[in-house]
């Protein structure tokens, strides 16, 4: 009985919201706030989609799910088309396939990545899946090869360098020296915390406990920044609704 009543309330909330949305937009079009153009219609649709997604905050509903799935579809379609126009067309179609079929000088060397690319897609077949291994061997091998020297230089040596700064340069205040020591302690203790080959007992245990403290502070900072980021996204959407659609703020 209660469920029926809730459904009825939800139906009226949905109908009421949709009617209000239609009425507001009709008024905006009549008053000239929204122009009868693709831009005006676009703003109306964008506002509608924004509100439809926020309807999830009341409860999960079909409007939200429709928009969510539509978004996935459009994003997918956009990626495919942009990949064609920005990558495959200028890198393969124009320099290789067009000259090949028009009798002009083609860059034949591009046949190699083209076939390796096609082989990759054969991963979904049963009989030719072995060909995709050639591509994966090339891509992963290349990745591994360039990772080793570049990572050692960038993320190991260059990161160790500032951790081993001299504590006293001479003439500075005490605080930077303490900070330098704290950074060194933090880096070592966090590394020890993640080092599971040695039992965390005695001095190692103490250091790993200090590592937990450093990690907790950094997780707290990350939480604070995550709140900041999510709120910024919300603020941006509310600004869109209030400025671009409703026009109540400048």
């Amino acid at each position: 009985m209660i469920n029926m009543k809730n459904k009825s309330i939800d139906f009226w909330i949905l109908t009421g919201t949709l009617s209000l949305f239609a009425l507001v937009n009709l008024l905006f079009f009549l008053l000239g706030r929204l122009s009868f153009s693709w831009e005006g219609i676009g703003t109306m649709i964008a506002a509608g989609l924004t509100l439809a997604i926020y309807s999830f905050l009341y409860k999960d509903n079909p409007t939200f799910k429709v928009v969510e799935n539509l978004y996935v579809g459009v994003a997918l379609g956009y990626t495919v088309i942009i990949t064609w126009f920005n990558a495959l067309k200028p890198d393969l179609y124009d320099p290789l396939l067009v000259p090949l079929f028009t009798g002009k000088h083609a860059q034949y060397l591009l046949l190699v990545p083209m076939f390796l690319g096609i082989f990759m897609l054969l991963r979904f077949t049963r009989r030719l899946v072995w060909l995709s291994r050639l591509t994966f061997a090339f891509v992963i091998g290349l990745g591994a090869g360039v990772t080793i020297p570049n990572y050692i230089h960038t993320f190991i040596l260059k990161q160790l360098e500032p951790s081993m700064r001299p504590v006293f340069y001479g003439g500075e205040t005490l605080l930077p020296s303490i900070n330098t020591l704290l950074i060194l302690l933090g880096v070592i203790s966090v590394l020890i915390y993640f080092f599971f080959s040695v039992e965390h007992k005695g001095p190692v245990g103490w250091l790993s406990r200090i590592g937990i403290w450093f990690l907790m502070i950094s997780f707290g900072a990350s939480f604070g920044y995550t709140v900041m980021g999510r709120m910024s996204l919300l603020i941006g959407r509310v600004i869109f609704l209030m400025r671009d659609w409703l026009g109540v703020i400048q």
Binding site: I45, A46, A47, L49, T50, I53, L57, K65, V67, E68, N69, L70, Y71, G73, V74, L76, G77, Y78, T79, V80, I81, W84, A87, K89, D91, L109, P113, L116, M120, L121, R123, S132, R133, L142, V146, T147, I148, P149, N150, Y151, I152, I156, L160, L182, G186, V190, Y193, G211, F214, M216, S218, G220, A221, F223, G224, V227, M228, R230, L233, R237
Partner: protein
């Protein structure tokens, strides 16, 4: 490619240029693996009439319309250069942009709710986490300086000293892991990427 790094000869550099060019062309095909996987997932849902299968139709609808307008390219067809201001661009600006931006902004509400309901100072460690979060949240917005001039300074210190040290520790650990995996791949110890396991 590892040895190439140490050989700055023009031939070596030309080899790197060629290999990276091939690699990024192959990466263009990889996009279609992702597309196939997603289509396959939603097609299976529709075929099996799984719960909420009707919504999966909208994935195909959105993708079909966007791809169709993309290929139509404002009347110039897809083998010509991309035209500006077409219906394809409109779909991006007025459907993908607002929907994408809004979906992720919903998390703002859930974070506020989680802050109220589950963020508890139960242990010393969680109290440290909570205090760091509060100082950073206040210190990173203009109002923090209005409450006390020390709050932004404390936030700066947290970010630049303990947070930086912990993040550097994690970075060193992750990088060493990536290097070790790369060596295992080159030596043939790690072969899972080829499929079928070891």
């Amino acid at each position: 490619m590892t040895f190439q790094y140490f050989v700055p000869h023009p031939y070596s550099k030309a080899f790197l240029e060629l290999m990276t060019r091939w690699d990024r062309i192959i990466a263009g095909f990889a996009v279609f693996i992702g597309v196939y996987s997603l289509f396959h997932l939603h097609w299976t849902r529709i075929r099996r009439k799984a719960a909420g299968w009707g919504y999966s139709i909208f994935v195909f609808l959105g993708a079909f319309i966007t791809i169709a307008f993309g290929l139509y390219n404002g009347g110039e067809a897809f083998w010509h250069d991309k035209k500006e201001g077409t219906m394809f661009d409109w779909l991006f600006l007025y459907i993908q942009v607002p929907a994408g931006a809004t979906i992720f902004s919903i998390l703002a509400f859930f974070m506020a709710s989680a802050a109220y309901r589950t963020f508890r100072a139960r242990t010393v460690e969680s109290t440290v986490l909570l205090l760091a979060a509060i100082i950073v949240m206040l210190g990173r917005v203009p109002v923090g300086a209005l409450i006390s001039q020390y709050i932004p300074l404390a936030a700066d210190w947290i970010m630049g000293v303990p947070n930086m040290a912990a993040k550097r520790g994690i970075l060193l650990g992750v990088s060493l892991g990536a290097i070790a995996t790369s060596i295992k791949i080159i030596l043939g110890v790690e072969r899972q990427y080829l499929g079928g396991g070891d």
